[in-house]
Symmetry: C2
Subunit: 223 residues, 2 copies
């Protein structure tokens, strides 16, 4: 992890100002940090000392179960908070957060700002909104995961992540995210190819029948 100083710091503070999220001057307290790919922003079980706000990059939230199985719970991307649970709750099991690309974020030290943040309506409103959206998404994902077979969730995921009609995600990451075995994920991909929805091109898949995937994905949408 690298901490940006001087111009580099200033540049990010200006380009991605978050002062509108606070009604007090926050900039002086902000550390601008760069994490390399695969670095841990927070280690599972260790309470962070900062509230983070992601400027660019992507990260993943993991949790380890007692049986040793590690699960990817969610993705984090630009404009997400990290560590807000620990800011708000005395008791909270901290999940692990690992970058999947180079990630730049603002780090706001609890020991200097906690009190002020918790007194600031502007900030609290922003945080409340963030949390409410997070809760809604989680809840949607949850009920979807239970109510429908992989076919539907995968179709949705493909449409969300495909770039110019080409799907390039890593199977390993995806089967973890969608909570299915590698084997079964591949099986459903094979089905999609058989049915002509996708065409395999090396390790990528080209979408052939967008509307068919869309039908499958629409089944789990209602908002």
């Amino acid at each position: 992890m690298e901490i940006y100083k001087k111009q580099k710091r200033q540049h990010y503070l200006e380009e991605h100002s978050i002062s509108h999220l606070f009604s007090f001057p926050i900039e002086e307290f902000i550390e601008v940090r760069e994490y390399k790919r695969d670095e841990w922003i927070i280690r599972e079980g260790m309470r962070p000392d900062y509230l983070f706000y992601v400027i660019e990059g992507k990260a993943k939230i993991y949790v380890t179960y007692q049986n040793g199985k590690v699960s990817l719970i969610n993705f984090i991307s630009a404009q997400d908070f990290i560590g807000e649970m620990e800011l708000l709750n005395e008791v909270y099991y901290t999940k692990g957060i690992q970058t999947s690309t180079k990630t730049i974020c603002f780090a706001i030290p609890f020991h200097q700002c906690r009190t002020q943040m918790l007194e600031d309506t502007t900030f609290l409103r922003a945080l409340t909104k963030f949390l409410s959206i997070k809760a809604t998404r989680m809840s949607a994902k949850y009920s979807q995961s239970l109510a429908f077979p992989l076919e539907n969730r995968l179709a949705d995921f493909i449409l969300q992540t495909a770039d110019e009609g080409v799907y390039k995600e890593k199977h390993v990451t995806v089967c973890d995210f969608l909570g299915v075995s590698y084997r079964h994920l591949l099986h459903v991909f094979a089905q999609f190819c058989d049915k002509g929805y996708l065409k395999k091109e090396g390790h990528h898949y080209r979408i052939q029948q967008h509307n068919k995937l869309n039908e499958l994905s629409m089944i789990l949408k209602n908002e």
Copy 2:
């Protein structure tokens, strides 16, 4: 739905005061309402005009999918907010909320209080905390649901809901909540009985081997 007036209203306002959640006098705006069993507090798709705070009773959150399948997403019980999503977000698909017992709650009208509530740090902090816990629970439930078979989730659910060693929930509600078919739920119950973890007594189940259920349930805990 019945609206309590005079002494009855006053009684509830005093017995279950929520004035500590606000830094302005909220009581004058509060309507005290009683919903009968199976009444809808909010109908799916209809934005509510009130923020609700549950005093006693239980309710269920439902969502209907395009394929017509209705899913129970979560339970609501005393000290939960209802309608906070609609208070915070302009755009939000409102889920249906139906009582499962007689339910008494406070109703705070948006049109009179929205602005004040959104400016009140005390309230916002309370709400943020509520939401953060909600998000965490959802997220735990989600990863659990994907990572483990029903056996584990059911063991956990039994321990959570059993009263003095006796489990009395309705299968119909539970299979919906846990997202499995009625048939399969019964099948796992039968297994638990075979293995001697539970003993069937009429329509109830008596826990025989608490430690065995606990083992199963602990597998999905880490906090």
